[in-house]
């Protein structure tokens, strides 16, 4: 009897370590799972899991990962809410400061007004300077000369950033008034001035055709038909002047779009000059 007890007891002793009770919701396990979700780019779930971690286990690195998750989901305001909790003495503070600058730039699209941190290392200083400089492109006027502006960026970016600078502060706009005047003198020329060659030539041909038909019918004494063609010709003539003014405005809107879209694409390709963080390897 005793032997049976001892044997079963020893068997269970062997079995015990392999089937210890597993706590899925212990703070350590929640953190492990949350880190895994973060590395899988499942950001919303990662944020939810991080929020479950018990207060005493929360640290600034976790808050920074939450910031990054919100930012990657496009929720920049929420990302900056999290920034408010990060201790300004912690080692991750400079990086989270830079990320908050990026969030602010995306939210407001205005020049950034941040002061440089003394705790920045060299690479972070560069990121800071580049972010602040590029944000001046959202302002009304240039803050520094073009050469000083370009010097902040790396040589490979000079072409693009120089082009963006020119588009912003010296845009090649076309004057709607001039376009209207040109089309009043020669129908279609206003559109050609704006660069719409096809529409300009069509306008010229259409107005010209009806003018010719009117003239021809007046000469042949078909007065009613002549006035009809005159009317239609005048309709297209006036419409063409209006259209030239409108197309100049659309051209200017296109310049603005190319600038803002070009800047957005450039910044996204550069990850807003922020370093790439690797928490997963």
């Amino acid at each position: 009897m005793r032997k049976i007890f001892v044997i079963t007891f020893l068997i269970q002793l062997l079995a015990f370590p392999q089937s210890t009770s597993f706590d899925f919701h212990s703070p350590q396990n929640i953190k492990l799972f949350a880190d895994h979700l973060f590395c899988e780019s499942d950001y919303l779930r990662a944020i939810e899991e991080y929020a479950l971690i018990d207060g005493q286990f929360v640290n600034d690195t976790i808050d920074f990962k939450i910031m990054l998750s919100y930012s990657n989901l496009g929720l920049f305001k929420l990302s900056n809410e999290v920034f408010k909790r990060i201790n300004n003495g912690s080692i991750i503070y400079p990086d989270s400061y830079l990320l908050s600058m990026k969030n602010e730039l995306v939210i407001k699209s205005t020049p950034l007004e941040y002061s440089i941190l003394s705790s920045f290392n060299l690479s972070q200083q560069k990121s800071f300077n580049r972010l602040v400089s590029v944000s001046t492109l959202y302002g009304e006027k240039p803050v520094v000369t073009k050469n000083d502006f370009l010097s902040v960026f790396s040589a490979e970016d000079h072409d693009i950033i120089s082009h963006l600078y020119d588009y912003k502060f010296d845009p090649p706009y076309k004057s709607p008034t001039l376009a209207g005047i040109f089309s009043a003198i020669i129908p279609g020329s206003g559109k050609m001035y704006v660069g719409e060659w096809g529409d300009g030539i069509t306008g010229l041909l259409v107005t010209g055709l009806f003018a010719f038909l009117a003239y021809d019918n007046f000469k042949a004494d078909h007065t009613a038909r002549a006035w009809l063609f005159t009317g239609v010709g005048a309709f297209f003539y006036a419409g063409n002047i209006y259209g030239s003014i409108a197309s100049a405005q659309i051209f200017n809107a296109k310049i603005d779009f190319e600038f803002s879209n070009g800047l957005k694409v450039f910044l996204e390709n550069k990850n807003y000059f922020l370093p790439e963080y690797d928490f997963c390897n």
Binding site: G239, Y242, N261
Partner: protein, 152 residues
């Protein structure tokens, strides 16, 4: 003691607000429809406002659609069509400015080489809404020719 309480309440507030925000962002069950999407143009024959001028104008356009446009095939490369553009243009501005916009649109429609100038809508027509031509610069929404518009 009081500051600790405030701090705790602050953390609680942030955590709960985070939870509420996350709850709103989670995707939900969605019913999948088996139906095929409809790619044919539909006319809107309804009358939008009450005044006499609008009534006359819309009646004329409706008559045009019914007797002529619906019968002579699909000739307009634009979306909205030139006649719908006229309706939109006169609604956005007034009859005179709308007529000028319409005249300009007819000229642009006559241009056989417009292939790279306009964005497309999902059925492949050139997307050219009336609000771009009202002469108020703030209303213009420029879209590049590579864009595919998804509204209406």
């Amino acid at each position: 003691m009081q500051s600790k309480l405030f701090f705790f309440l602050f953390i609680l507030l942030i955590t709960t607000s985070v939870f509420c925000q996350i709850e709103n962002l989670k995707w939900q069950k969605e019913n999948i429809s088996y139906e095929k999407p409809d790619q044919f143009r539909k006319r809107n024959y309804s009358f939008q406002s009450d005044n006499a001028g609008e009534f006359i104008k819309k009646s004329l356009v409706n008559a045009y659609w019914f007797f002529i446009s619906d019968v002579d095939g699909d000739n307009c490369a634009f979306q909205p069509t030139c006649s719908s553009f006229f309706i939109d243009a006169t609604e956005e501005t007034n009859i005179f400015q709308g007529s000028l916009m319409f005249s300009d649109r007819l000229i642009r429609d006559s241009n056989p080489f417009k292939i790279n100038d306009y964005p497309r809508d999902k059925s492949g027509y050139y997307y050219d809404p009336a609000y771009n031509y009202t002469l108020s610069q703030g209303r213009i929404k420029y879209l590049p020719p590579t864009f595919v518009a998804d509204d209406e």
